[in-house]
Structure formats: C-alpha cells, structure tokens
C-alpha cells in the first residue's frame, strides 16, 4: 500500500517536473528584423512555420529606427533574443555589449571564408550569416543590347542614346555608391589601422574621374536613391547601379542585371561593398539553446531556398545552388568581386565627412585634395579620444556646500514670521497646483536634470566616465582649432542667431500684413482666405518640410520647373540653381520653408490681437485728422504690441530650436554650414559615434543662451515700456 502511494507521489513529482520543464521551454523567442519588402516578410513567415520549438514573436521595425532602438532595448532587458542585422554593425554592437557569441548556432559547414570573416570580430564569430547584399549593374534592355565591358564604354553611349537619356544613373554623391570606383582606383574608405582612407592620390583620382563623367553628362549629378529608381524605371537612364532592392519597384520594365564593369583607366573591376546579413544573438539569448536552434534554423539551407524563392535573396551559403534565375546569378557573380564592409566602429564615422567632401568636389566647389584632407581632419576630430576622467570630488563638495547653504537659507526664511504667514495664505493655491508640480517634476524636470548631468560625462554609451567640464571646454575652445572654423560652436551659433532673426522678422512681417489685410472691414471672402492661409500650420511639418526639399531639387524640382516656364514664356535665361550647393541658397531654402510653416501662427495671433483694439479709439484718431498710415503706426500697432510680444518670444524660442526644417530640408548642406545648434547637437548624439555627453553639453549651452536671451528681451521690454510712457 505504502509503496503504491510512494509510486503515485513519485509519478506526480515527475509529472510536475515535466510540466514546469515544458513551461520553461515554452517561453517565447523574440525576433526583430527591419524587412520592409513583402517578399522578405513572406519568406520569414514561411521559414518560421517550419521551426519546431517555442513560439516566435517577430517584430519589424522601420530601418531608420532599428539600430538606435536595439542597443538601449537589449541593455535594459526589453530587447529581442535574436535579431537580423547587417554584419558591419557587429563591431559597434560588440563594444556596446549587445551581441553574444553564436556558439553551436553556426552550422559546421556551408560558408565561405570571406563570409565567415565578415561576421568575425576579434577572432570571435558573432553572427550567423543569412544572405549577401551588394550593388550590381541594372541594364535597360530596350535601350541597349550589348553591355560595354568598361565604365568609360558606358559613358560613351551618351552619343547614341536618345536626347535626355543618361547612360548611367547612380548616387554619385553618396560615398557608399562611390566606393566601387574608389576600389577600382586601389583606394579604400578605411585603412587597416582604422584611419580615414578616402584621402591621397588614389581617392583624388577616383573623384576626378567621376567629375569628368558628370561634366560629360554621362551621370546625373545630384541623384539620390529615389531619383535613380525613377530615372531607370522611366527609361531616362540606360544603366543603373543599385542593389537587389531596386527590382521590387521596376514594374514591367525590360531589364537584366550584370556584374559591375571595369574601369578602363586602371584596368581594375569596380568592386562594391559586400554586406552580409546575419542573425545575431543578444547576450541573454545566446545562453538559451532553443534560441540558438532558431538561429541555426534561420541560416539553414532549407531557409535559404525559401528566401531565394520568395524574395530572390542571394544566400550567404555556398552549398545552395543559385538555380537558373539570371537575376540571382548576376548578384552571385558580383558577390565574388566585392570588398566586405569593415566591422570596425570607426567605419561608421567615415561616412559623414566623406559625404561632405564628395559633394563639395562633385559640385565643383573645391579641388579633391583640400576637400579630402578636410574630411580626414573631421574624421580625426570625431574619433578623438574622450577627455581624461576627472575627479568627481570637487563636484560633490560643491554640490554638498550648495545644498547646505540652500537648506540654511530655507530654514532661516521659514523661521521668519512673515514667510510663515505667507505660506499659510498660499495653502489654498497649493491645492490647485500640487498635482501639476508632481507631474511636471517627474515627466519634465527630472529627464531634463538627468540630461543636463550627462553633459559632465564622456565616452561611448555604456562606458561613460565623469569628465567634469571637459566637454564644455572642448566646445568653447572649438576643440583647439580656429574659433570660426566651419563646424565650430561660434560659427554655428552665428548661423543660428541669423536664422532666428531672419525667420522671426519674416514671420512677423508676413503674419502682421496678412492679418491686417484680413481685418479690413468690408472684405469679402474673408473666411475663405483665412481657411486657406492657415493650411501650412495644419499639415504636419515633417511632411511639408520634405515636400519643400523635393521642390528645391536642381534637376527635377518644382522651382526649376518654374524657372523653365519663365524662360520659355518670358524669354529670360535663368540657370536652374543648385540650391544646396552654396550656403546662401541652401540657407534661403531653409528660410523659405520655415517662413511658410510659421507665418499662419503670427497671422492668427494678429487677427486675435486686432479684435482687442477698440473701434472708438480709431474713430477718434480719424476725427483728429490722422491719416491711415498714422492710425496704423500710432494707434493700432502700439495697441496690439503687448499681445504680440509673448508670441514673438515663443516664436523665437521655437525657431532657435527648429530641428525638423534644418534637418529635413538642407540637412546641413553644404558641408554642415547651414546646421543650427540643435541639429549639430543631434549629429553628435546620433551620427558621430554616439557622443551623448558632448551632445548634452550642446543642449545645456542652448538652454543657457535662450535663458540669457529671453532675460535680455525682458529687460529691454521693460525699459522700452518705461521710455514709451514718456512718449507723447
């Protein structure tokens, strides 16, 4: 009997163990990706259907938000167990500690040494390769039959092609797209010891070469990815250099893909960068066998075949046959002629200075030599080591002394009878504001204080060290360079102040004039005008900022369209303007956009303020013989000034910090000169090696400047008001 109970107990225990055991194993696996094409998503779904293991929760993120989101999410434990990303980010991810070793997730065979070396950092394999991506040559088969073997041969087709058709479209000003030509000239973007490579005779020769192509009219000068797509799709370009992603938007165009040609001048093939898309494991995910099993499954030959069929993705495996798809065959052939993108974190810091230099040279504003040396200097500037750690004790001592003194003053004041009485009298008011103080304290003041405190730290995210005021010292001394060099704090400040003054002047001028016109008595259709004029305020500003940027495109923008229409109908001969090539025109484009966005606010404020002007005062002035201008300048404007002043102050603060317009319209072009302080701070935080401390120091300086500025304005206002009272 007892034995039987014992056995039942034993079985129950065993059952319980099994239940909890399977429960632990059933914890779902979180997988993140940035796939945006339907084919890639379908392929992923199909691959996951064949996975035998716990439930997999997938999340697709916008490409732009992907990297900035992964790092904080994983370090806080909210991130995925595994994620699909490009191999060149591995160096950075390793430094941030958000990627773990793949262990047994890597199948024992099936990958070439090139592919494996791409996902290896410091001798450790950190990703399981899935697919290979590079650009190749798209050929419009309606326009050309035979593909010339050299780039020069393609450029020479200019004579045979119909009028208005470019031989080749590619993003000439993007260093990523320039890299194949650079490699054909034996140049490199990043040297072996992680220094800036786009400098020296080879780099200069490669840029001279492209400049000649543009001057011959063989290549459009100012093409971005969307324009390359549109030109090729509409038959306005016979060839295009682009990646597999282009195929999805070509519709029923007759085209084929071949590997990139040679550059006859050097006799070397154009070798693009190779990106290996890989599954990476978070440090926690790497410890779970079922997560590693999923990574192995995603990288299996079977999954590669599904991806190949659904999304035409070129596998990273060398044991999966590409089959008879000529599209894949071309990319497979190209993959043999590539340079794997370096994984060193320094690689990311090359793009921004390189882009500025390439643009300057191709727009003919600078010789290659000086432009590239300047880019090298900027690269060194961004990669400079963080300041030495400082001793935090002086700061602690200062903080302690300050809080002691504060407490002392507070106690003194509370003990004085008067304050006690006033405090008691304030009690009813506190009942109204208590919850707001709490809410504002937590959601507004606290993040602000933490943000401000960050300015005393430096170093890459995750290993920031206290450096005292070193960030401020570096900013205010322009990091040792000349104080008014491009990109220095003082020059950017100057641009920001000019930007704010011009914008506020235009906002006020336009808003006030239109407001006064709309307030005219006997004006018909007033309501319709007002409704239409408010539109710029009602549409989300990032949408319209992007629309304005498109309108300013040199070759295809609406502004060029207007200029051409003028030339045609009025017989003028105005040249289309490269808006973002010079500071003056790029700044004008930004101002035009921001004036457009901001004038309706001032207009509405003016209309509101005008309703407060009593009619009898104006009538009295008229009876006294004042003419219309006198009434406007002497009566109306002084009367609405008090209502306009706060709106002007607020408008000035908004304009000073107007990130969206500067970032989306000119993007700092040319060469970062149109950047204002806020966009400069953004670049330090998000594009230049994530120097959060440095960016925070910029933010603190902006804060101090605005605080000082508004204080000055207030003083000026009071003295103005005082002087105004003496005015007859």
């Amino acid at each position: 009997m007892a034995a039987r109970w014992l056995r039942i107990g034993w079985l129950a225990l065993l059952g319980w163990l099994m239940v909890t055991g399977t429960a632990a194993a059933a914890e779902p696996i979180r997988l993140w990706h940035a796939y945006d094409s339907e084919g890639e998503q379908k392929a992923l779904t199909e691959i996951l259907e064949t996975f035998e293991g716990p439930q997999v929760i997938t999340l697709g993120l916008p490409f732009d938000a992907y990297a900035s989101k992964l790092a904080p999410a994983i370090s806080l434990g909210d991130g995925p167990d595994l994620y699909i990303d490009m191999h060149e980010r591995l160096g950075d991810y390793q430094r941030r500690g958000i990627v773990g070793p793949v262990g047994d997730a890597l199948p024992g065979h099936g990958f070439s040494p090139t592919v494996l070396s791409a996902v290896t950092v410091d001798g450790e394999v950190l990703g399981v390769p899935l697919s290979r991506k590079s650009v190749a040559l798209y050929v419009n088969t309606d326009l050309v039959d035979t593909v010339p073997p050299t780039l020069e041969g393609i450029a020479a087709l200019r004579e045979q092609l119909p009028e208005g058709v470019y031989p080749l479209a590619y993003e000439a000003m993007n260093p990523y797209a320039h890299a194949p030509i650079l490699h054909a000239f034996s140049g490199t973007m990043l040297t072996d010891n992680a220094d800036f490579g786009l400098v020296g005779p080879q780099a200069e020769a490669s840029l001279q070469f492209v400049l000649a192509l543009i001057e011959q009219g063989a290549v459009p000068a100012d093409a971005d990815g969307a324009l390359v797509k549109d030109l090729f799709r509409s038959g306005q370009a016979a060839f295009a250099i682009s990646g597999p992603w282009l195929a999805g938007s070509l519709g029923d165009l007759d085209y084929r893909v071949v590997p990139l040609p040679k550059v006859a001048k050097t006799g070397q093939p154009m070798r693009p960068y190779l990106t290996v898309e890989a599954v990476m494991l978070s440090p926690d995910g790497a410890k779970r066998p079922e997560v590693r099993a999923l990574a192995r499954h995603l990288a299996s030959a079977r999954a590669a075949r599904i991806r190949q069929r659904q999304a035409r993705t070129l596998t990273a495996r060398d044991d999966v046959v590409v089959g008879d798809d000529p599209f894949l065959q071309a990319f497979a052939a190209q993959a043999e002629q590539t340079v794997p993108m370096p994984t060193a974190p320094a690689m990311r810091a090359t793009w921004e200075p390189a882009r500025h230099a390439v643009r300057k040279v191709l727009r003919g504003q600078s010789e290659p030599g000086p432009a590239l040396r300047e880019a090298h200097r900027r690269f060194v500037d961004v990669m400079r080591p963080p300041p030495d750690p400082a001793d935090p004790w002086p700061a602690f001592a200062l903080l302690g002394a300050l809080s002691l003194w504060g407490a002392f003053v507070l106690v003194q004041r509370v003990r004085s009878q008067q304050l006690g009485r006033r405090l008691r009298a304030s009690m009813p008011a506190y009942a109204y504001v208590a919850h707001a103080v709490l809410a504002v304290g937590i959601i507004v003041i606290l993040p602000l204080l933490v943000g401000a405190a960050t300015s005393l730290f430096a170093g890459p995210a995750g290993e920031m060290r206290y450096v005292g005021l070193a960030n401020f010292v570096e900013i205010l001394t322009a990091r040792g360079g000349p104080l008014l060099a491009s990109g220095s704090f003082y020059l950017v400040l100057l641009v920001t102040i000019v930007w704010t003054l011009i914008n506020v002047t235009f906002h006020l001028g336009l808003g006030l004039s239109i407001g006064l016109l709309l307030a005219q008595p006997l004006l018909r259709m007033r309501a319709i005008y007002r409704v239409l004029l408010i539109i710029p305020w009602a549409v989300p500003n990032y949408v319209t900022a992007l629309a304005w940027k498109g309108m300013f495109h040199r070759q295809f923008g609406a502004v060029t369209g207007i200029i051409e229409a003028l030339n045609e109908h009025l017989g003028t001969s105005i040249e289309p303007i490269s808006w973002f090539a010079q500071f003056s025109t790029a700044f004008t484009a930004n101002v035009a956009t921001n004036v457009w966005l901001g004038f309706p606010f001032m207009m509405v404020v003016t209309i509101g303020a005008l309703t407060g002007v009593p009619k009898d005062v104006l009538e009295a002035a008229e009876v006294d013989g004042a003419n219309r201008w006198q009434r406007l300048w002497r009566v109306t404007l002084p009367m609405i000034r008090p209502s306009l002043m706060p709106a002007i102050t607020l408008g000035a603060i908004w304009t000073f910090n107007m990130f969206n317009v500067v970032f989306l319209v000119s993007g700092g072009d040319p060469d970062g000169t149109t950047d204002i302080l806020v966009s400069e701070a953004y670049r330090w935080a998000f594009t230049r090696e994530a120097q959060y401390g440095y960016a925070a120091a910029y933010a603190v300086l902006i804060f101090v400047l605005l605080l000082g500025g508004t204080r000055l304005l207030e003083l000026w206002k009071t003295s103005w008001a005082r002087a105004g009272r003496g005015d007859p």
Binding site: T45, G60, P62, F63, A65, L76, G225, A226, D230, G235, R422, S426, Y432, V433, H435, A436, A439, I442, I443, V444, L446, P447, G451, L510, I514, L518, L522, R530, V531, L532, A538, V539, P540, V543, T544, G550, M551, A558, G561, E564, W596, P600, I607, G608, A609, T611, L644, P646, N657, F659, V678, A681, Y682, A685, A695, A696, V700, I702, F703, T710
Partner: protein, 286 residues
C-alpha cells in the same frame, strides 16, 4: 475717398491675398499631386497636376495588413486608432493638469509662484534631443516602455507647460468681477471657478487641447524609439517606413501623409473659429 480709389484698393488687397494663398497652397498641392500620380518619369514641372492619375497609392496605404497566427490584422486601422487614442489622451492629460494650475497662477498669489512660472518657461528651452534618452530610462523604470501610456507621458511633458501658459493668459483675460459676483451670491471659490470661469474659458481650452492633440498626433521620433510592436505604432511611424534608406516610395509617403493629415486638419478647421478667440484672450502670454 472716391469710389474708383476704393475699387482699386479692394482689388489690390484681393491680389495680395491671392498671392499669399498661392504661396500657402503650392507645396501642399505638390504633395496631393504626387499622391495621385502613377509612376511618372521625373521631369521638372511648374504646375502640380497629377500624372497618370490613380488612387492605387491610397488603396495600398490604407489597406496595409499583416498576417498573424490569429488572422489578418488591419494595420492601418490599428495604427490610426493608436494615433487617435494617444493624441486624445495627451490632450486630455495636458488639459486636466493645466486647468487648475493655470487658474491658480492667474488668480492667486503664493510663495514660489514666480519661480514656478520661470522654471516652466525655462523647460521649453531645453532641446528634446538631450532629454529623450533620460525619458527612455524613466519609462523603463516605470515599466511603461512600449506602451501607449508611456508615450502619452512623454508627449504630456511638452504639452503641459505650453497648456499652462496658454490657459493662464486666458484666465487672466476673464474679468475678476464675474467670480466675485458669484461668490457674493454664496458660491465657494471652487464653485465660482467651475461654474463661471470654465464655461467662459471654453474656446481657449478647446484651442489648447487642439495644440496638444496636434503635437502628439504628428510626432514620430519618440514614437519610433519607444514603441516596439507594430500593434502599438502610431501613424507617423508607418509613414517613416515608406521613406527608408534604400527604397523610398515617395508616392506612398505622400498618399499616407494626406490620409494622416486629414483628421487633424478636420479638427483644426472645426476649431478654427475658436483659434482666433482663444489666442485673442491675451495671446500666448509667457
């Protein structure tokens, strides 16, 4: 003043206003024409007329769905719902916190009032670039990351100070006599506030709520950073997907932008009568 001169003047005013309207509408018409165009060849055009007109882009943006184990999700509808919920909650939270505070600032004298006003104005000067990362950590500590609630808290952090300024100016513009009369009639201070001041301030409150709604509805940088589930994304994040690094689909972006803008524009025009009245009551006094 002769009749002829009057005519000329009226003509000039209308001409100036028509020029201003063209300036205001031109970029918007470009967005509309892009959204309605098929896949035209790029060439500079002065007049925004859709080429190869089609509604395909609208259909594909609005109809975006996703297959899940539980059936097909209508992503667009879900994200529209999220946007509206988040923006409404932001407006509501902003108003509820701001109304009593603004009233106290307008009507009472208390210790710390000036300091409070100053620091509130000062918070508007610190760029969000630097406070976004601390906000992320705080939301994580509260367990509110990846939730609509967390996003509402973020947006409220900018909408609350602004709402307080707006409403304080509005309350200050209301004559004190109104409340005093009510209190003479036996109402308490709070009753006078609730039954006399609030109804008078309604236009200003509506406009303030509209601003809070618009700023939350249009924001996409924080939304893309703090949310990590397609079912909690807001609409601007969806738009961002159309202009990715490699594969920018400007026609879809334009179509999406129009669909996203329509609700907020409708709201804007519904309240635009109050806009003037709300801002007239003292302006945005800082």
């Amino acid at each position: 003043m002769s009749i002829r001169r009057n005519r000329l003047e009226s003509f000039l005013i209308h001409a100036a206003l028509v020029v201003a309207v063209c300036f205001a509408l031109y970029p918007v018409l470009w967005v509309v024409s892009l959204a309605l165009s098929g896949t035209p060849a790029p060439e500079p055009r002065a007049i925004p007329i859709p080429q190869e007109p089609t509604l395909d882009h609208f259909v594909s943006v609005v109809g975006s769905t996703e297959e899940t184990p539980d059936g097909t999700l209508w992503l667009f509808g879900l994200q529209l719902f999220n946007s509206v919920v988040v923006a409404s909650a932001t407006a509501l939270a902003g108003i509820l916190i701001a109304i009593p505070t603004a009233y106290a600032l307008a009507r009472f004298n208390f210790v710390g009032k000036q300091t409070g006003i100053r620091s509130l104005l000062a918070t508007q000067m610190f760029p969000t670039v630097a406070s976004a990362i601390p906000l992320y950590l705080i939301l994580d500590a509260l367990g509110l990351l990846n939730s609509r609630t967390g996003l509402v808290l973020c947006y409220a952090s900018t909408s609350v100070p602004f709402a307080i300024f707006q409403l304080r100016a509005a309350f200050e513009a209301i004559p004190l006599d109104l409340e005093e009369a009510a209190m003479v009639d036996g109402a308490t201070r709070f009753e006078a506030f609730r039954k006399v001041v609030l109804p008078v301030a309604r236009p200003a409150i509506a406009v303030t709520a509209l601003f809070a709604f618009m700023s939350a509805y249009n924001e996409f940088i924080l939304a893309a950073t703090f949310l990590d589930d397609r079912t909690t994304f807001t609409l601007p994040v969806l738009l961002q997907k159309f202009i990715g690094e490699y594969n920018a689909q400007w026609e879809k972006f334009a179509a999406g932008a129009i669909v996203v803008s329509l609700p907020v524009m409708a709201l804007f025009y519904w309240l635009q009568r109050h806009l003037v009245a709300g801002l007239a009551s003292g302006g945005v006094k800082g």
